[in-house]
Amino acid sequence: MADIVVDTKGLACPMPIVRAKKALDTLKPGQTMEVLSTDKGSLQDFTAWVKQTGNELVTHEVENGVFKFLVKKL
């Protein structure tokens, strides 16, 4: 279970990452965040964003058009 869940379903770019960043800023290293998104550009943007910020994308999956990302703050 993630420490925080950020539901951005229905929101378009850039809002999913803007919301995710705000949430991530509240976490301590080692804690995890789950982000839900229906934005199709999510996967590549999330992967790149997590890498650029030096965190870890633990898992990502897509189910019924909803992307689910698990990010670990490092």
Binding site: V18, A48, W49
Partner: protein
């Protein structure tokens, strides 16, 4: 006026049409592309006097201070993203930081990839005209041949409402839609356009072995008439990109070469997995069949690979004789060398090209959104495209 309204007022919208006009006019433009770097490297907007710079929007969430110094102060700055949202987000921050000539691209790369700009190529002897429809974001070129109150559309893309609106404005009836070959880089609009206008749809038989629909066979020597005063479209069999590829000679002047011969390159023979089989056909077409034609013909290809091929007013064309002098693909000394060059240096294949072929055969019926996804990115139909 609140602070927020004030910022929004300073950011200006640029449409795909306005951007196209600016690129055709070779105006100076600075583009800040805020998509992720992978998407940017795969495909971005280019122009004669365009400077482009990539910083993903998610690096700018906390502010744009770090990049403001790298941007020109007075020149037009166009912020571009995939769909629009992130470009508005970044553009507003730039405006807030004091830049006052900031635009965002309406609809982002999604609309850019679907924009079609009609440009007139020239006149026909009976008073008719030929137009090129430049799909500038993807490098696809299609054509409308107009004579009397009739029109034929060649290598139509799937955005068929553009041709229909163009015809309607001029009170034209589209009577023929023609595909020079089975396309692998974009979804053909030929069948859809024929269906909605009552036109006849033409396709080379050798490219149509697996199709699920009825069509008229595009065959060498079988003349297609447009209008009352017999503007003829003469098909010439010219295999190589596909086994059925057929070129069209319009009014003895305009030579529509499909994906066989481009202005700066030549077609690639591998998109149906048969490079070794078709490279010989491609060589024969370019070095024998086309050689027998008048060097005065104006070559009008179905693609361009780079903005450098856009001529004045945006038309992509070249005299056949000039291409025999300047096009590297027409200046390879021997067939053995040709085989080596053409099959040895092929660029990556276009996005979803196998699925696109299936759609064009009528064997897959994706919805609008899926079609759009399949067509993402550049066309890559030429041998020398990067």
């Amino acid at each position: 006026m609140s602070n927020l309204q004030h910022q929004q007022a300073k950011v200006k919208k640029m449409t795909a049409h306005e951007l196209t006009e600016l690129l055709f006019a070779q105006e100076e433009l600075f583009i800040l592309d805020v998509r992720n770097s992978e998407d940017y490297e795969n495909w971005h907007i280019e122009g004669h006097r365009v400077k482009s710079f990539n910083v993903p929007y998610f690096e700018l969430i906390d502010g744009v201070e770090e990049i403001v110094g790298k941007l020109p102060g007075k020149q037009k700055i166009l912020v571009v993203c995939a769909k629009e949202g992130s470009s508005v987000f970044v553009a507003e921050q730039l405006a807030e930081a004091g830049l006052d000539n900031v635009y965002y691209l309406q609809g982002g790369m999604k609309e850019w990839s679907e924009h079609l700009e009609p440009v007139k190529v020239g006149d026909l002897r009976d008073g008719g005209e030929i137009y090129q429809f430049v799909r500038i974001g993807k490098g696809c070129l299609s054509y409308m041949i107009v004579s009397g109150q009739e029109a034929a559309v060649v290598d139509s893309v799937r955005l068929t409402d553009v041709y229909e609106a163009f015809a309607k404005e001029r009170s034209l009836t589209i009577t023929h839609t023609i595909d020079t070959h089975l396309h692998a880089d974009h979804i053909s609009g030929g069948r859809k356009l024929a269906k909605s206008t009552g036109a006849t749809y033409w396709l080379p038989e050798k490219d149509a072995e697996e199709v699920t629909f009825a069509y008229e066979k595009l065959e060498e020597g079988k003349v297609i008439q447009v209008g009352t005063t017999s503007i003829s479209i003469l098909p010439i069999y010219s295999p190589g990109h596909t086994i059925g590829s057929t070129s069209l000679l319009v009014d003895d002047t305009y030579f529509l070469t499909g994906d066989i011969l481009f202005v700066a390159s030549i077609g690639r023979p591998d998109l149906a997995g048969k490079a070794e089989d078709w490279v010989g056909d491609l060589h024969d077409t370019l070095y024998n069949r086309y050689q027998d034609l008048s060097k005065e013909l104006l070559v009008l290809p179905a693609h361009f690979g780079s903005h450098a091929e856009l001529g004045p007013d945006g038309v992509v064309s070249a005299r056949l004789g000039d291409l025999y002098r300047d096009n590297p693909g027409l200046n390879i000394a021997s067939e053995a060398e040709f085989r080596r060059v053409v099959t040895g240096q092929l660029p990556p294949q276009p996005n979803a090209y196998q699925e696109i072929r299936q759609v064009n055969m009528g064997r897959l019926q994706p919805d609008e959104e899926e079609q759009r996804e399949m067509e993402t990115g550049p066309n890559r139909c030429a041998v020398h495209d990067k």
